[in-house]
């Protein structure tokens, strides 16, 4: 007889949870019943309402009748009972039967504003660590019976709940099945966050670019779902995954849709300019000051030479020195409490910036280039993407230091070739450029007016293409 089919006894369960001091074992001698649960996983009010009060109002001979209520789920599998207790159920042992009653309700963080994806206008609520709160946030915005939720579990030890969400009739089921397959195939003991989960399900593990969008904003996930994409919520993680994803999605923000379309478009174009500045500005400085002085007009040349004349290093070392300093400041600022973080800003900005120039370690113009590209990198709404682009920048600076413009172009070519290869859930990562789809440019490079945004993105390969039939 296997462990699952043994008659489950209280002793067996207590033995299984031996040395778990947080386990509560309550005895009801009048009713000859026992109850086992984790106090911190259950909702105390629900316990009072669903179990303690009804138990107080019945006699021993009436308990059998009470336990026939649907909230008490009979179970004979030891595995099910142990998993139930771990998931916030209370196990009630009466005579030879065992019942599970769901009382899950641990204390959790209230719904707050997202710190990494702050908004100026638009809904301010952000996902929390509780998957059910997150599901509720989505359902509140998407009141449709077509919104389907599939529950899975990941982690051989942790057994974290994962929910796959999609809108039936809009999504291409190939993506849903692929997503479910990839999550089921994960063989790992523990996954603690959806940003970690993403790395187990993405198409290319050895790329610096994020292949799935993760966000803390419910409005963004709702718009992705209605665009025919699949969402994945992981319990105990405030980030929700959406896929398939395109590189250009990381440059859009829900705020674009809350503004007039012309302003939204201008903001979006600004982000692409920021992307170009982040990735090339310092590298171009290095290329020009190392090899191509002839490209600088005469008037500017005097300023540049004066600024560079005291610097004893080649431009590439000078640039790398400052770029590493900026990264140190950023990392230190991110780790420290906000009050001390401000001090870091002052130390970095004034002390290091000005002192480095006065000491003759760097040139003024380089400080401007490095600072501008650092600021530009923070314009990109996704922190994960911003980090990837900043990393790629180092690679271009080094190549520009070796071969000037040629190196820079070699670097850009390598990036383009690399990006062309990438896929997200099997669909091209650089959609709508390749496969080329000009229709989708209206909602990726610009934010077209709503009457123009008629179709769902081609990347989602939906059979239900029409999003709105709005006339001008």
């Amino acid at each position: 007889m296997t462990a699952n089919h043994k008659p489950v006894t209280l002793e067996y369960v207590l033995h299984e949870f031996e040395q778990c001091v947080d386990l509560i074992h309550r005895n009801f001698p009048m009713l000859s019943a026992d109850m086992v649960y984790f106090d911190h996983l259950i909702d105390k009010d629900a316990m009072e309402r669903e179990v303690l009060q009804p138990f107080a109002n019945v006699q021993a001979d009436e308990l059998d009748h009470l336990l026939k209520d649907t909230r008490f789920k009979p179970s004979s599998s030891s595995k099910e009972i142990i998993e139930g207790i771990l998931k916030g159920d209370a196990a009630i042992f009466h005579e030879s039967s065992v019942y599970l009653v769901s009382l899950y309700g641990p204390s959790s963080r209230p719904i707050e504003q997202s710190e990494t994806e702050a908004v100026i206008i638009g809904p301010h609520d952000a996902f929390t660590e509780s998957a059910f709160t997150n599901l509720s946030l989505i359902r509140r915005k998407l009141k449709s019976s077509h919104l389907k939720v599939i529950q899975l579990s990941v982690g051989e030890v942790a057994k974290s709940d994962v929910f796959v969400l999609y809108i039936d009739g809009i999504v291409n089921m190939e993506f849903v099945n692929e997503m479910i397959k990839r999550i089921r195939d994960i063989e790992v003991d523990i996954i603690t966050d959806s940003n970690m989960l993403v790395q187990h399900i993405d198409d290319y593990p050895n790329t610096i670019f994020p292949l799935f969008l993760t966000t803390e904003r419910p409005d963004l996930i709702v718009s992705k779902l209605s665009g025919g994409r699949v969402a994945v919520i992981m319990d105990e993680s405030p980030s929700v995954i959406s896929g398939p994803t395109s590189l250009f999605e990381f440059f859009t923000s829900p705020d674009d849709y809350y503004q007039r379309w012309i302003i939204g478009t201008a903001t979006r174009i600004l982000r692409y300019i920021a992307f170009i500045i982040t990735i090339t500005f310092t590298a171009v400085y290095v290329a020009i000051t190392t090899y191509h002085y002839e490209m600088i007009p005469e008037n500017l040349l005097y300023t540049l030479i004066e600024s560079r004349s005291r610097v004893p290093f080649p431009p590439v070392f000078e640039a790398l020195l400052m770029e590493v300093t900026i990264e140190l400041l950023r990392e230190a600022g991110a780790r420290l409490p906000s009050k001390i973080g401000q001090t870091i800003g002052i130390v970095g900005g004034i002390v290091i910036g000005q002192a480095a120039v006065q000491a003759g370690l760097t040139s003024n113009i380089l400080i401007i280039a490095v600072a501008l590209s650092a600021i530009a990198s923070f314009v990109i709404p996704s922190y994960v993407m911003s980090a990837s682009i900043r990393f790629a920048r180092f690679f271009l600076i080094i190549l520009a230091g070796i071969w000037g413009n040629f190196g820079l172009m070699i670097g850009i070519s390598i990036l383009v070739i690399h990006l062309s290869k990438l896929t997200s859930l099997g669909s091209s990562y650089i959609s709508p450029i390749a496969p080329l789809n000009f229709q989708d440019w209206k909602d990726s490079f610009i934010r077209g007016p709503f009457w123009m945004l008629k179709d769902r993105p081609a990347q989602s390969r939906t059979h239900n293409k029409v999003r709105n039939k709005m006339k001008r």
């Binding site: 071969w403 040629f406 070519s413 070739i417 669909s427």
Partner: protein
């Protein structure tokens, strides 16, 4: 979820294979060989290329999308086909590497007179290898992105609107030129590259649209060349054009912005994108030919081998003059190949069709 080669990709791929370093000297060649109003020759050559593409589309239609290797193997015994494939591979790979080498040489001329060309060439070849091993679908995707990175350069032509003068044009057509036929073949080298689409046929989606895309790609190339050459005929005088090595570069050098000048330096760097695609497609086609000789060999290792051999080959021509001479000879061959090969395939297909009918009877 199998990827397909979409028709828009084919158009941009053809455009990217065709355009290249040859564009830089096209105005000079048009002036030297065709003389006055030499820019008209670009349109003529574009039409010749379009006719050639019609021949390729006949191969596609008759062969019903069959690969060129299948067509050949159906009629010719394998012991004859293998040397043909090897020759084809060597020839295509040589063109691919020399095109890259020419770019490196000109780059050296402009910006890096002291750098080792071997190192630059090595770096370029690694890039080509990096792209070749990604396969044709990813090559076409990368070519699409690259094309957007260089297509914007067409707008630079507006920078010359003030200095373009119709007075430099004359009502005389093709006067003051020499060796027009030889020149036409020489200039045609700037248009070839579309014939590689013969090797791409089995990978394209089966709609009839894609042959039209090849024509669109050729049209894009023709119009781009035409606009540059036409503007340079109105920008420089005929006499000037005849003595400039790379009139396009000289023209671009004229553009000045408040914060940057000598733009030809950076603009020439952008040409790397199209040269990489050209070189990659030739190397990939060579790889396809070799794959049919050694069907069981690993494609990536084969690509590495081809790129390594071509790297060694590219060491031989050590000056730009020698290199351009080599390329001239190869491009004559290529012009002949681009017409003769489709005609040869059409003949094979017609014979196969007749044999098939006979067999059925």
């Amino acid at each position: 979820m199998k990827e397909r080669l979409y028709s828009t990709h084919i158009a941009l791929l053809v455009f990217m294979i065709q355009t290249g370093v040859a564009a830089l000297s096209l105005s000079r060649k048009a002036a030297v060989y065709f003389g006055t109003n030499g820019w008209l020759s670009i349109l003529i050559l574009g039409c010749v290329a379009a006719i050639n593409i019609v021949l390729i589309s006949v191969v596609n239609r008759l062969g019903n999308g069959m690969s060129v290797f299948e067509i050949m193997e159906k009629s010719i015994p394998r012991f004859i086909v293998i040397p043909i494939y090897l020759l084809l591979a060597a020839y295509l790979a040589a063109i691919g590497c020399l095109v890259g080498k020419q770019y490196i040489h000109i780059f050296q001329l402009i910006a890096f007179p002291t750098a080792s060309p071997l190192m630059l060439q090595g770096c370029f070849d690694v890039l080509v290898l990096f792209l070749v091993i990604k396969g044709i679908y990813n090559i076409s995707k990368a070519a699409t992105v690259f094309s957007f990175l260089i297509l914007w350069m067409v707008f630079l032509l507006f920078a010359f609107s003030n200095d373009f003068e119709f007075e430099r044009m004359t009502p005389f057509v093709f006067k003051g030129g020499r060796d027009m036929l030889e020149g036409a073949v020489d200039m045609f080298a700037a248009f070839v590259g579309y014939e590689l689409i013969l090797f791409v046929m089995p990978y394209a989606d089966r709609s009839k649209k894609w042959m039209r895309s090849v024509q669109i790609g050729n049209l894009m190339t023709t119009l781009t060349y035409f606009s540059f050459v036409f503007i340079s005929f109105g920008f420089f005088s005929l006499g000037q054009l005849k003595i400039m090595i790379y009139p396009l570069l000289d023209m671009l050098a004229y553009i000045q912005l408040p914060f940057v000048e000598r733009l030809e330096n950076i603009l020439f760097s952008f040409l790397l994108f199209t040269v990489v695609v050209t070189s990659t497609m030739y190397t990939w086609s060579a790889g396809e030919a070799v794959h049919h000789v050694f069907p069981k060999a690993n494609r990536n290792i084969m690509a590495l081998f081809i790129v390594f051999i071509t790297f060694l080959l590219s060491i031989l021509p050590d000056t730009l003059y020698k290199l351009e001479l080599w390329l001239k000879i190869l491009s004559y061959g290529e012009a002949a190949f681009s017409f003769a090969f489709p005609i040869f395939l059409i003949l094979l297909l017609l014979i196969q069709g007749r044999m098939g009918v006979k067999n059925r009877v």
